[in-house]
């Protein structure tokens, strides 16, 4: 009985830390993005609220909370209100299955640094991340605004084109580790990060992730220059902030998942001796990926949405299929010969395959304008 009570407390505390960590992370991710973008663009960035602008997220939050929330007269009111909630909740719960560090001992108890070691964690992530697109489509539709509807339609098209490549990106680490649990996948990367065995898989996974979280250059649903603000054109105040929050929390989440699947999760030098280093390594790796996202946004123009679908179906999908096949062949060779060196067959063959396909697919994907 005492044990149950302690376990419950542990879970509650861990969940609260995760949720508040994500919300705080979201707030400071906006500042991080604005600062980094500013540096890319020879600007200074926010520097008025507090030293170096560190109070800027708080000022933004106060503004958004107290702002008037308008609901268009002809909007579908219930769906209009529910849509941002549908978008933000999946973003908040994705990270429940991601391990942040090895087990640590606190107050005589072994504390695991994850909320739940789900045995089908990868499937859980796949299904939860897909839910938020419903929020976007419904938001676009319920606003009764043509720009918003176009944004909603774009996001469905985008989602259909990218889910498959994203799902197949998961398969590589699953095959290599033989586990669907993220804890298992991290443990399997004790010696070699899967990035080295799966360079193509990691790349495709990352590209599909950018599309998944509507980040540049795949930010078509909200393409500001084309659709004013896309699906959230009619949203204001905290409802708008929820969409914003969902996008940024998902940025953190997909970075964390990419780190877990391909870059050894919390693993790093001396982690087994000092478990506390685990979360630190994890954080550094996640921030590196977030930086990459901002960098991409600062550099690349937006891809057009019909091109995006062509890119997803004609390039990413076949390459990721081939990647899965070659990974399976590599693992099969290890099984037959019993020699682990055959694992290096995977990166070599997949990179060659990637170059081959992208060379031949160039005509099919690019330059197809009428």
């Amino acid at each position: 009985m005492i044990m149950d009570w302690a376990l419950l407390t542990e879970w509650t505390i861990k969940s609260l830390v995760l949720i508040f960590g994500l919300i705080g992370g979201f707030a400071y991710l906006t500042l991080f993005e604005r600062k980094v973008l500013a540096r890319f663009q020879v600007r200074i960035g926010p520097n008025r609220a507090g030293p170096h602008g560190i109070l800027q997220p708080i000022a933004d939050a106060i503004k958004l909370i107290f702002k008037e929330e308008l609901i268009p007269a002809k909007a579908d009111k219930i769906i209009f209100i529910v849509a941002p909630i549908i978008t933000v909740i999946p973003a908040l719960i994705i990270l429940a299955v991601v391990p942040f560090g090895p087990d640590i001992r606190l107050f005589g108890r072994t504390i695991t640094l994850y909320i739940s070691d789900l045995n089908v964690a990868v499937l859980y992530i796949m299904s939860v991340t897909s839910i938020s697109v419903y929020g976007i489509v419904l938001a676009g539709w319920s606003s009764n605004n043509k720009y918003a509807t176009l944004g909603g339609i774009r996001s469905t098209a985008q989602m259909i084109s990218y889910e498959l490549a994203l799902g197949l990106g998961f398969v590589g680490p699953i095959l290599l580790s033989g586990s669907l649990s993220l804890v298992g996948i991290v443990d399997a990367q004790k010696n070699v990060w899967f990035f080295l065995y799966q360079p193509v898989g990691a790349f495709i996974f990352w590209v599909a992730n950018l599309a998944e979280v509507n980040r540049a250059p795949f930010d078509m649903p909200e393409a500001e220059q084309e659709l004013t603000a896309g699906y959230h054109t009619e949203y204001s105040g905290m409802k708008f902030a929820l969409f914003f929050m969902a996008e940024y929390i998902k940025m953190i989440a997909v970075s964390a998942i990419a780190v877990t699947l391909f870059f050894g999760g919390y693993r790093g030098p001396l982690v087994d001796q000092f478990p506390v280093l685990g979360p630190l390594y994890f954080l550094i790796k996640v921030v590196a990926f977030l930086y990459l996202m901002v960098w991409v946004r600062a550099t690349l123009p937006r891809i057009r949405y019909d091109r995006l679908m062509a890119f997803g179906w004609k390039l990413l999908f076949p390459i990721s299929l081939g990647n899965v096949l070659l990974t399976a062949v590599g693992i099969g060779l290890v099984g037959i010969t019993g020699n682990n060196l055959w694992l290096w067959f995977i990166p070599v063959s997949t990179i060659l395959f990637f170059l081959l396909v992208s060379h031949f697919a160039q005509g099919a994907v690019a330059g197809g304008n009428k």
């Binding site: 663009q41 220059q225 600062a298």
Partner: protein, 413 residues
């Protein structure tokens, strides 16, 4: 007259029928109102779009949201004072507008301009051309969401605006060129500042090109988008970079040189594809050619006066007013009554960054123009937008608005 301008009432179904296809009235296609408040319409352009999915079936530009009545206002002012209105037309090419107007007045009253003033006019106009192309490049890239290029372009534009401020005291609305010459000579720092810009800028153009020219995403968004055939371009009266990108080598600086352009050695960049990418390449190359002109003009910048000595039209220098009775009288007459221009009409056209910028002036013997008309390139070039947009996606439409390079102040005047 009233029958000529048939009013189209969009609010009625019959009014709509004249603008869009029957399918839109039946509800098979979607009507979308883009602008006047839209981030990518470069000001207050309104486009009525008929969309089939995201494909543009019809695109009807609706202008007039920035109508300022500049032409009419100019007719109520003396020739000297009307010049301040010209800056407000195409606010990205202010000294270019000044130049066109001054050339027209000088032609009307037959006034000579000293060579030094002519050379300085060329330097500043070319600097302004670069600044205008920088704004175009920045906003064009921003429309395609390459946001950093925008800020890099504005960094360099700031250097040019500093030079303009150094000369005329204003960053944009300089009114620095006056009929008969310049307001005053350039300051001593001018040459150093321009030379510094010439030194820095080629590397900066390279920087933009590194980011865009071979970027597959940018090429994909611009190549084969909005192809303008040369015969269409000529038929619609398109001038400037869009015309040259369609393969027609026409530039007023070469065809009908003014202000001493014939002395400088420069090329007219052309492309044959006529698409958005070709227009991009033409404008990038034009910036390089402008630099060549600036450098040549600066190298052989003659010494001498910067204003004509014809006191009937050009105010005397400040120093003379205190010592010479005639100078005082001239000054008083010029700034109160203005100078009378002979009866007759002139048309002068210059090559603005956007194309042929023409001024038509009609004098009636009095100190104010009887009629002023501006042939503005933005207005004419905008007319091909529906032609370019048909069949493309909404996403391409923003690229097309950018590539036509309109300034709404230039469209509605």
């Amino acid at each position: 007259m009233t029958e000529m301008y048939e009013h189209i009432d969009e609010s009625t179904l019959d009014g709509m029928r004249t603008l869009v296809t029957e399918e839109a009235v039946e509800g098979k296609t979607v009507l979308l109102n883009m602008g006047p408040q839209h981030p990518s319409t470069h000001g207050v352009l309104r486009l009525l779009l008929e969309l089939d999915g995201e494909y543009v079936v019809n695109c009807v530009p609706d202008i007039g949201f920035l109508h300022t009545g500049v032409e009419k206002n100019m007719e109520a002012k003396t020739y000297t004072k009307a010049e301040v209105m010209t800056d407000r037309l195409d606010y990205l090419n202010t000294v270019g507008n000044n130049l066109a107007y001054c050339l027209a007045v000088e032609k009307l009253v037959d006034l000579d301009v000293p060579p030094r003033a002519q050379a300085i006019r060329v330097i500043l106009t070319e600097l302004q051309r670069i600044a205008s192309h920088l704004v175009w490049l920045g906003t064009h890239a921003l429309d395609l969401a390459a946001m950093s290029v925008f800020l890099y372009c504005f960094r360099e534009r700031e250097m040019i605006l500093d030079i303009l401020e150094m000369c005329g005291g204003q960053r944009m609305m300089t009114t620095y060129f006056r009929p008969g010459g310049l307001w005053r000579d350039v300051p001593v720092e001018f040459e150093g500042a321009v030379r510094n810009f010439i030194k820095i800028f080629p590397a900066r153009i390279q920087e933009y090109e590194d980011l865009l020219t071979n970027n597959p995403l940018f090429v994909e968004r611009t190549k084969h988008i909005g192809v303008l055939k040369p015969e269409d371009a000529i038929r619609w009266g398109v001038t400037g970079p869009p015309l040259r990108a369609s393969g027609v080598k026409h530039d007023l600086r070469k065809v009908r040189p003014y202000s001493g352009y014939e002395q400088y050695d420069f090329d007219i960049p052309t492309q044959s594809d006529g698409d958005t990418y070709a227009r991009y390449l033409v404008r990038i190359e034009e910036m390089r050619q402008s630099l060549r002109i600036i450098e040549q003009a600066l190298n052989k910048l003659p010494y001498g006066p910067v204003r004509s000595n014809n006191r009937k039209y050009v105010p005397p220098p400040r120093s003379e007013i205190g010592t010479s009775m005639e100078a005082l009288i001239h000054h008083f007459k010029l700034w109160t009554e203005g100078f009378p221009a002979p009866k007759g009409s002139v048309y002068v056209a210059v090559e603005s960054p956007r194309g042929e910028l023409g001024v038509y002036l009609e004098g009636d013997g009095g100190p104010k123009p009887y009629r002023v008309h501006w042939r503005t390139p933005s207005f004419v070039n905008l007319q091909v937008l529906p032609l370019l947009a048909k069949g493309h996606l909404v996403a391409d439409l923003v690229a097309l608005i950018g590539t036509v390079d309109i300034v709404l102040g230039d469209v509605d005047r």
